[in-house]
Symmetry: C3
């Protein structure tokens, strides 16, 4: 029936749509770490117990403490 044709079409169109958030961590030595293109930074972690960070240019974690050995950016997007 026309009804079921419509339903099938709509269902197919919706299956391709984003349904969940996926995240990954990017570990880098030094005080900068960037997320891959297409992902956003949701937070940063820093070495030496440092909790002071900021995000530069939308996708790069910058750890601010005087001594930093590593920086991790937490990166997420819709999949």
């Amino acid at each position: 029936s026309l009804d079921s044709i419509m339903d099938t079409k709509i269902k197919e169109a919706l299956t391709g749509l984003a349904k969940k958030i996926s995240c990954t961590s990017i570990f880098s030595s030094g005080r900068l770490s960037s997320c891959p293109a297409g992902m956003v930074v949701t937070s940063c972690a820093c070495g030496y117990g440092c909790g002071s960070w900021d995000i530069q240019g939308e996708t790069t974690c910058h750890c601010q403490c005087s001594t930093i050995d590593w920086t991790t950016s937490r990166c997420c997007h819709l999949t």
Copy 2:
């Protein structure tokens, strides 16, 4: 009309779709804290001012500093 039937069907199908991000914090004593199934970790907070953490097995915050009394995982999903 057929037109309005189609519009109604599409509208109904879309209402069920995810429209926003929802988050919650899971507080645990010790140096590990996990997000519930279906949620992703967007960041971690740690006791004793510690900003050094990593994420184990996709959903578990691990606070790295030598002395840690609590760990909180920030957990998000689409609703």
Copy 3:
């Protein structure tokens, strides 16, 4: 054809749907920083290297260490 009418309708309906996550950082002096309405807190950063924070009332970062000069909330939503 009816087929193409349906396809067009569905496509139009889907274009308006959220397709990605967008985030911003809100920097505030002191130990509290809030996300704008409609956004969720994915994490917090604090001055003085502090990594101990919690989230109050769903949208406000609270930095817990004894000395805090600034607090940043990382805020995200679907666009």
